[in-house]
């Protein structure tokens, strides 16, 4: 559905162009049963390749069991442009919903991670390439609303080829709308953690997904505004094999960390703890604190004028 989708296929290693089974590792060709993959968090046991994870399964992986409550689940795209290309937009939507069981490319709600409440917004690349339209934008904002209302952090997990062309300018405006949601979080001091999964490109990475107070990515994910094929076709430049990948982005200053999927829940739990209010702690070993010394130095008098003292520890 998006310019990036095509490149994503290429980047995921399927150079031969042949149709591969979704449970066959595109990297090492190992094949897994679906329950095996689900059990391994959809990480290849042989080569550590990270398979795509659907939104609902991602929520299962990350949240405490039974803690998730969805918001905006009943929203559906409305085709305001009456858009038809080779196929009507409404048909594409129906196909996507039938294929994924989802109403759009993002699932929003709230839940808990190791007991700490959090709002969540999780994308699903299988729904029209994780494209960003009106419903995705509104659902993301509903998750942010929850975060603001309950003063709990927001965590997003993104996987997107970019904006949904079938909604054209309204799709573009979802960039402004979702960034506005981040602004509302910042206004009240609610933390936002952005997790970038393969691929996060186009309008999604050029809006909310880049604005996390902390931004982490899964290994090997393609994270770029324009995909490698668009870059090559438009500018004639060659792209390196690691173009736009998580590891390059870390080196280039765009990420706080690359976190393997097996560690993701743990790292998010740690961040939720760090972003939580101070705890009373037992006062360690009770060593006596040094006293504030006095000094005959004249500077003290100047500092004293401003209510500032000096001491020797």
């Amino acid at each position: 559905m998006t310019p990036i989708e095509v490149n994503v296929e290429r980047v995921s290693g399927d150079e031969g162009g042949g149709r591969r089974h979704p449970n066959t590792c595109p990297n090492c060709r190992s094949h897994f049963r679906d329950d095996e993959l689900r059990h391994s968090l959809r990480v290849c046991a042989q080569c550590n390749h990270h398979f795509a994870v659907g939104a609902m399964e991602r929520i299962e992986q990350l949240l405490d069991p039974g803690s998730f409550v969805e918001v905006g689940g009943d929203l559906r795209a409305a085709d305001p442009l009456a858009f038809v290309d080779l196929k009507p937009y409404t048909d594409r939507l129906l196909d996507a919903e039938l294929a994924t069981g989802l109403g759009d490319s993002l699932v929003a709600g709230s839940g808990k991670i190791v007991g700490r409440p959090t709002a969540v917004a999780v994308m699903d690349f299988a729904f029209m390439g994780g494209s960003m339209g009106s419903v995705m934008g509104e659902r993301f904002c509903l998750a942010a609303d929850l975060a603001v209302a309950r003063r709990m952090p927001l965590i997003s997990v993104t996987a997107s080829g970019g904006a949904r062309m079938q909604e054209n300018i309204l799709a573009l405006m979802q960039m402004a709308k979702t960034v506005g949601a981040i602004d509302s979080l910042r206004e009240v001091g609610v933390p936002y953690i952005s997790v970038l999964a393969h691929p996060t490109t186009g309008g999604v990475i050029a809006s909310f997904a880049s604005l996390g107070d902390v931004v982490v990515a899964e290994p090997g994910a393609l994270l770029s505004f324009a995909g490698p094929r668009v870059v090559e076709q438009t500018t004639g430049e060659k792209t390196a094999p690691d173009f736009g990948r998580s590891e390059s982005n870390l080196r280039l200053g765009q990420l706080d960390a690359v976190v393997p999927r097996r560690e993701l829940r743990g790292e998010l739990a740690k961040l939720l703890m760090l972003f939580s209010p101070a705890e009373d702690e037992p006062t360690g070993d009770n060593e006596p604190l040094p006293t504030v010394g006095s000094d005959d130095n004249p500077i003290d008098r100047v500092l004293g004028m401003f209510g500032l003292g000096r001491k020797r520890g």
């Binding site: 609902m56 442009l81 300018i169 405006m173 506005g180 602004d183 050029a206 809006s207 505004f225």
Partner: protein, 294 residues
């Protein structure tokens, strides 16, 4: 079963009914006309004094996007606009109006300056898009566009954006979040170029005309969809036919939009601007409220 509001049905009908195909393609061509006035052409005619603010204080001065302090009807404003360049040398120097991250970093700097002194911000949007090159990507094109959008969201000063030519995708939106958004009559504003859309959805860039008709990048469609507030008239034949007349028409609209933006209480401006964009989008409501496998 999805319930869709009457409003959306009415919108759809309107779009289906209009035989505006040729009109849309005219706009695409006028928006890209090589003689179309650019940001600096308007700056010359609208501002009594101007001082260009250059550089991102980090990497370079990106000439695809210009920022300036300027005097507009007796008050100081910060102007921010894409600049395509007129002859080949200038076009190359200005990358055909396609900014690198440095351009957006310069825009953010200008927004911060405006915010520091309470100056209104006027933006002029005219770009095929952010530059899609390897270096631009490596220096964080996506993140810088996001941060520019955020800077425009966070500002408490009045902001008026005008799409004066091509409003191309995220590279345009990066400086187009405003209290009032205007489009010139023959400007276009879209999430991807007609050619790009055609290449992907029709598997044939030659179908650009068909794509343009399907996704309607016109001022009229943007107004109908609630994305812009004002359509700015152009001289007959298009903005390039008479630069002075075009500037006068823009001036008239700009003064009114700016007055409206200034009339909003500064303490509410940020929240109202957010609410304005929050309202953008249309959707229906399904009977089954949740996802299937949940």
């Amino acid at each position: 079963m999805v319930r869709v509001s009457d409003e959306v049905r009415r919108l759809r009908k309107r779009f289906e009914a209009r035989a505006e195909e040729s009109q849309i393609w005219d706009a695409v061509q006028l928006a890209r006309h090589p003689d179309r006035p650019y940001t600096l052409d308007y700056a010359e005619r609208l501002f009594s004094d101007a001082f260009e603010l250059r550089g991102d204080r980090a990497f370079s001065d990106d000439e695809a996007l210009i920022t300036m302090l300027a005097r507009y009807h007796g008050q100081t404003v910060v102007a921010i606009g894409h600049q395509k360049g007129r002859d080949l040398a200038e076009r190359t120097r200005r990358m055909f109006g396609m900014p690198h991250p440095e351009g957006y970093r310069k825009a953010i700097r200008a927004v911060e300056l405006a915010e520091r002194f309470g100056y209104p911000i006027l933006t002029f949007v005219d770009t095929p898009g952010a530059y899609p090159g390897v270096n631009a990507e490596e220096r964080g094109q996506a993140g810088m566009i996001a941060r520019s959008v955020l800077a425009f969201c966070q500002a408490s000063v009045p902001i008026v954006a005008t799409v004066i030519g091509e409003g191309g995708s995220g590279g345009a939106l990066a400086i187009a979040v405003a209290d009032r958004v205007q489009m010139q009559e023959n400007a276009i504003y879209s999430v991807i170029s007609p050619e790009g859309c055609a290449a992907i959805l029709w598997k044939d860039a030659g179908q650009a005309k068909k794509a343009a008709y399907a996704f309607r990048p016109t001022a009229r469609a943007c107004l109908d969809l609630g994305v812009i507030d004002t359509i700015v008239d152009e001289p007959s034949g298009g903005a390039h036919a008479d630069l002075d007349a075009s500037a006068r028409l823009l001036d008239t609209a700009l003064r009114l939009s700016l007055a409206e933006a200034e009339a909003i209480a500064p303490a509410h401006r940020r929240a109202l601007r957010r609410a304005k964009f929050r309202a953008m989008g249309v959707w229906g409501v399904a009977d089954e409220p949740t996802n299937q496998d949940f």
